[in-house]
Amino acid sequence: MEKERYIASESEEKQEPSKEEQVTTMIQQLGQTNIPQLTQDTNIHCLTIVGQIEGHIQLPPQNKATKYEHVIPQIVAIEQNPNIEGLLVILNTVGGDVEAGLAIAEMLASLSKPTVSIVLGGGHSIGVPIAVSCDYSFITETATMTIHPIRLTGLVIGVPQTFEYLDKMQERVVRFVTKHSKITEEKFKELMFSKGNLTRDIGTNVVGPDAVQYGLIDEVGGVAQAMQKLRELIDLNETKGEKIVQ
């Protein structure tokens, strides 16, 4: 008898939580009660590069990280999906692994669909090549980008080899940035090696309008400008496509 009752109460528990309960959990977990319900399909997808860019070493789960094994398949899927016409890349990153960052940047640069990037809080270090890899780049007024030489984290051993290896790695970053943006190699290297801007460190912290002035980023703007530019590029891409068909 008691067992029966136990089973009965258990099955009761399995019932869907009431609407009121759902609302309470929503408030507890999200601090809000309702999010508009939309299931539309969209022709513009958005890729967010946040936190650290994770490389070959997995960062502990408490770190906010962008993993290239997540991002690269997403870029492949975007390239393949015919319903997706454009990609908006949102950056707020402190940088991270050089190889992983360059891999993401190269993937974005070789995407056949129009891409627009927008640097929000920060696009530091290896975030710079990712920002410039898109067809058009935006930076918000208050956002900053730190340009600095490649740093050693103690994973590469052997003094002369390490120096050469790092130098080559840096050369790849410089070449990528100068190829995909309007900044000259001289200016980029000047910013990279300048002293006195970052306390006791080499490099420069470039704020929004300065990044545009140096030619690193195309324009200062927010999400509205970025979306407008992306739609423009999509229209341009479509008319080009039609011409080829005819």
Partner: protein, 74 residues
């Protein structure tokens, strides 16, 4: 103790392996999510990895929402 070093923190203070297995990537309704298993044998969404911005407007894909282990597809 104060430790001055240029080494990243995670190289010096290695995280316990259990920490890594807590979170994993699963597909739910065809959308990739980073999830964490709860004591109630459910998955709790930690992060939505979708690139479709409309997936972020759906209440059931928001961080903190739980779904049963059985609905996961690989």
């Amino acid at each position: 103790m104060i430790l001055y070093t240029i080494m990243p923190e995670h190289l010096i203070f290695q995280t316990d392996m259990d920490e890594y297995t807590k979170q994993k990537i699963v597909y739910y309704d065809g959308i990739p999510f980073i999830v964490q298993e709860t004591e109630t044998k459910e998955y709790e969404i930690v992060r939505n990895l979708s690139t479709n911005p409309f997936h972020f407007l759906e209440q059931k894909y928001a961080p903190g929402v739980r779904f049963p282990l059985s609905v996961v597809t690989s």
